[in-house]
């Protein structure tokens, strides 16, 4: 059992370590974490902090993908969450107070949950393919966010709100703590209760799960709502970090990054099996890759090329065909084509 687990995460972990060592080779203080003004500072902390929104969204995405779905709308949901929270703070009577920030966060999270429920409705009750169902919100979502902000970039100054993305607690950035909390929560909920197995079961065969007495619909609702929730919190982090809501650019392409993190982490897009630890490592790889590009002095825009090459490489390594070619003794999983055809 541990052998299988090690095998699955061996390549991602190796890639992460190699990337970090590469950075260390170019900048000798890269792996150094120091304490300054009572806070932890260093490139590793930066990677964690900047990667927190992607990790959060990737967490939600992992569970959605495990149910053989996909959520393309997360970037739009993040933009909407940023838009509603900043607009609320901007228009409130007391824009600097803690209670205003708390209400804004609550509204944003409620919006994320509601949008997740909307996706869940389309997928589970109406039975639309997940990629199409969430495409609707992906297309319309940024328009909705712009509607909320009236097309403007809304800047706010509220210290409590700013703390979500840029503050520190117990020497650590708050965004890292939130992401860690969400990760622990998701891991506990899906691995210490039956929920994780139920999600996987729905991902393998929704019909069989229902016949076995599971409410496939309820489980689909749960994963999409969780994804919407994660996207909203990530959106709060993004807009809080820059203390502004930019409906056009907040969370742009983050759904792609999140999907990449999930795929790099070894979760198959065919559903039915997932690894939260893999997603964590995948998100870290993506963020480290971005940092590496900066460290090497390559124009940051070129990151996309590296991301593409990494995805292609990882997918090739993970594809059953390539594996059978590489290792003759490993037999291809016979169940996979059958479940695909069943969709």
């Amino acid at each position: 059992m541990t052998g299988v687990l090690r095998h699955r995460l061996l390549w991602p972990v190796l890639a992460l370590v190699l990337l970090l060592l590469l950075n260390q080779g170019f900048r000798s203080d890269f792996l150094l974490v120091r304490v300054q003004d009572g806070h932890l500072y260093g490139s590793l902390i930066d990677i964690l902090r900047n990667g927190a929104p992607t990790l959060l969204i990737a967490l939600g995405m992992t569970l959605v993908i495990a149910s053989r779905g996909i959520d393309l709308s997360v970037g739009a949901v993040a933009a909407i969450a940023g838009a509603v929270s900043c607009t609320y703070i901007y228009n409130s009577d007391n824009p600097g107070s803690f209670s205003t920030a708390a209400t804004a966060v609550a509204i944003a999270v409620a919006a994320g949950v509601a949008l997740g429920a909307w996706n869940g409705l389309l997928v589970s009750i109406i039975g639309i393919q997940p990629i199409i169902a969430t495409l609707v919100l992906m297309t319309a979502g940024r328009g909705l966010a712009q509607l909320v902000t009236d097309g403007q970039i809304i800047s706010v100054s509220n210290e409590s709100f700013h703390a979500i993305g840029a503050g520190f607690f117990l020497t650590l950035p708050i965004s890292i703590l939130i992401a860690a909390l969400a990760f622990a929560g998701a891991a506990l909920l899906t691995r210490r209760t039956a929920l994780g197995t139920q999600i996987e079961s729905v991902g393998i065969n929704p019909l069989a799960s229902r016949l076995a007495g599971l409410s496939a619909r309820r489980i689909l609702w749960i994963v999409y709502i969780f994804s919407g929730f994660c996207a909203a919190v990530a959106g709060l982090m993004i807009s809080s970090n820059v203390t502004a809501a930019d409906a056009n650019n907040a969370g742009l392409f983050i759904e792609m990054d999140a999907i990449l993190a999930v795929v790099i982490g070894g979760t198959s897009l065919a559903g039915g099996r997932y690894s939260l630890v893999g997603t964590l490592i995948g998100a870290l790889i993506i963020q480290t890759l971005t940092t590496t590009v900066y460290t090497l002095g390559i124009p940051p825009e070129v990151t996309l090329v590296f991301k593409a090459l990494v995805v292609i490489l990882v997918c090739l390594l993970q594809s059953p065909k390539a594996r059978t070619l590489l290792r003759q003794r490993r037999r291809p999983a016979p169940a996979l084509p059958a479940t695909k055809a069943a969709l």
């Binding site: 039975g127 319309a140 593409a308 292609i312 065909k321 055809a341």
Partner: protein, 367 residues
């Protein structure tokens, strides 16, 4: 799943007669004989209704377009003119060509997320080569070849390594967009005389109306795609794969080759769209055509093509583009509405047509 086998066989039967209504009825009659010989007449009537139902989403799109055009003519003065209609074509030539390529991919049940990035990449390559003093025709040839090879490469990865199209074309999206930035971070202006003449050329029509050369190219693509899909072995195989890949393979059709080819077609169409977009904007810019893959997918879906593959018409995709275009025209005529309403309305239309397809097709089922 026993349910999927008659589905696939049914589609294949319909496909062989390339979408003609009569043979669909024959197929239905045959099935009714097999299933319940006691009431063949009723069954035949039902299957005839179902045969018409497959045209329903596309017909609804065309009807919607005319309804919107009529409504616009009633509300806004100056809306009802041939030129407003032709402008829809002129402003959306690239989207029409993209939607044509996307139709092929979606008909096989795949998806191509890379098209917007390939459009931008084509524009960047064209602009950079023209700036370097290349002959414009050589530039166009290079761009078209690049697009086709890009699509071919993605198709091969999808087919040979059995990786989902979604993730492969997502990587293609990143790669093509990243390569744009590698070529140049800034916009490159196109000053080549051939490109500027194509940008300004007007083909006169009666009543002082005109179209751009791009419109002719785009309509040729629609016509070419129509011929390919409905009158060639390749087209029938495309439909058959969408209807049921396993059945298509069992029928001895060239499934792997066709699947690779549809992505090549899509890549070629994206490159052509890039050239048309260069004619339109006379520049190359790394951020161009961002999110255009969504517009293309939306146009195909609104045009009545089923995203699970097997059902749909390229003419529907053309109508889909026109519907998206007329939404934009409406918003610009209204004046008080902001541009973001376009996205919201397109999202709503997308939802509407997905629900419509849900009603008309019994194909996608869950739980």
């Amino acid at each position: 799943m026993p349910a999927s086998i008659p589905e696939g066989a049914d589609t294949a039967a319909a496909t062989q007669a390339s979408g003609s209504g009569t043979s669909r009825n024959e197929g239905g009659a045959l099935m009714s004989v097999l299933t319940s010989p006691s009431a063949p007449a009723t069954r035949q009537r039902i299957s005839r209704l179902q045969g018409k139902a497959k045209y329903a989403p596309t017909a609804a799109t065309i009807a919607l377009f005319f309804a919107m055009f009529a409504a616009g003519s009633l509300i806004y003065p100056g809306f009802f003119s041939g030129q407003v209609f032709l402008n829809l074509l002129i402003d959306n030539t690239f989207l029409i060509v993209l939607a044509v390529g996307m139709t092929f991919v979606i008909l096989t049940g795949g998806i191509d997320l890379s098209v917007g990035s390939v459009v931008a990449l084509s524009m960047m390559i064209a602009a950079a080569l023209l700036q370097a003093g290349w002959n414009p025709f050589a530039v166009i040839a290079v761009v078209l070849l690049t697009g086709a090879v890009f699509g071919l490469a993605m198709g091969l990865v999808i087919q040979v390594f059995e990786i989902q199209p979604f993730i492969v074309t997502l990587a293609g999206l990143f790669l093509a967009r990243g390569l744009c930035y590698v070529i140049s971070l800034d916009a490159i202006t196109v000053t080549d005389p051939f490109f500027t003449s194509m940008a300004q050329a007007r083909i006169p029509l009666p009543d002082d109306m005109f179209v751009s050369p791009g419109v002719i190219i785009a309509l040729l693509f629609v016509a070419g795609a129509f011929y390919l899909l409905h009158h060639t072995r390749f087209g029938r195989t495309v439909y058959a794969i969408g209807g049921g890949e396993a059945s298509a393979r069992l029928m001895g059709l060239a499934v792997p080759r066709t699947k690779v080819l549809v992505y090549t077609v899509s890549g070629f169409c994206s490159a052509t769209a890039g050239i048309l977009f260069s004619f339109y904007s006379l520049s190359g810019y790394s951020l161009a055509a961002q999110g255009m893959e969504l517009d293309a997918i939306a146009a195909v879906v609104v045009g009545g093509t089923l995203l699970t593959g097997g059902y749909g018409y390229v003419v529907g995709s053309l109508a889909g583009v026109l519907v998206l275009g007329i939404v934009q025209t409406f918003i610009s005529y209204q004046g008080t509405l902001s541009s973001w309403w376009t996205r919201i309305v397109i999202g709503a239309l997308l939802l509407l047509f997905i629900l419509l397809q849900k009603v008309f097709s019994r194909k996608t089922k869950l739980t």
